[in-house]
Symmetry: none
Subunit: 175 residues, 2 copies
Amino acid sequence: MPSSSAAVFNVIQSVDRNTLFTIESILGLGRKDQRQITPLKPHRPWTDSETAQHPGQTSGNTSHSSPEVKVKGENPMCKQRATDSYRRTLNWYIGRRPRTAFTGTQIEVLEGVFQVNSYPGIDVREELAQRLDLDEDRIQIWFQNRRAKLKRSHRESQFLMVKKAFTDLQGPAQL
Amino acid sequence: MPSSSAAVFNVIQSVDRNTLFTIESILGLGRKDQRQITPLKPHRPWTDSETAQHPGQTSGNTSHSSPEVKVKGENPMCKQRATDSYRRTLNWYIGRRPRTAFTGTQIEVLEGVFQVNSYPGIDVREELAQRLDLDEDRIQIWFQNRRAKLKRSHRESQFLMVKKAFTDLQGPAQL
DNA sequence: TTCTAATTTAATCAT
DNA sequence: ATGATTAAATTAGT
């Protein structure tokens, strides 16, 4: 059974139930020709239980059942919160890797290396992983995100400079 | 393939300028170097253009000569004198966007679209922004927060179900 | 106090 | 590798 038909059926059901938002519902339905109705990777494991349907039929989505939670340099804080118990237990039906929490010293070292070399090779990454007690994958992902962040900030500053030039041009003209 | 040629080039350049660059020196440099780990000035392009949309909202906060503002660090002793000064210093360096207050009809439409499609694409977001007279960024942030809220509620209900099952298992066993 | 808009970052996916 | 986007976590306003 294809999952797209189920999605379409859900949409039709939802629209049928509340016909209050007729025009606005078309906003969500009008572009059903592409991409959103047939998601190749449905990243929504919880949205189908709104009408009390049978749960658990979407559990077979890329679940790498090797629970090797190797968060090595972690556990700096221990909040006694009731939500903390099921915060971890609800991660299993999501196929996502648990978010890695880098320590302060790890960030320090990574930032220092980034200032020298933003594109570390495999050897430097392996060395860093061994020294910082992290996986090499995490190192690579961190550098990717760090480069993206740097580019973002560069774009922002450039945009601000252009806008400032505009306002500086328009400002004195008003005097 | 020359996929790592850029990285090699960067490394060679770095080595050329400051000779003898090993992981040791990089790590040592990263340790002793003083830099900002917490940026405290992340992203505020609207602080210098308050004339466009939010008149009178932001004040001229050009000087920020108090970089040692501890926001999250709790200080159990001598907290009375520092409360309003904290409040004041928080308002200084925070460059947040003013909180958007959605109207009732905007919330209605957004909720209606959310019931149909929790992951609207760029086209739907743009359409919504134009119809509701909002920025597309606000639409996206709203859907992000809405999904987080939905997931939170689902987590709570699942936790309650698990806890109920647990007590139902333990209860009759005691008889 | 609760709820939620806003921000940041690790992770994922497509190109 | 890059860009877009998401989830998660946190901050902060009403």
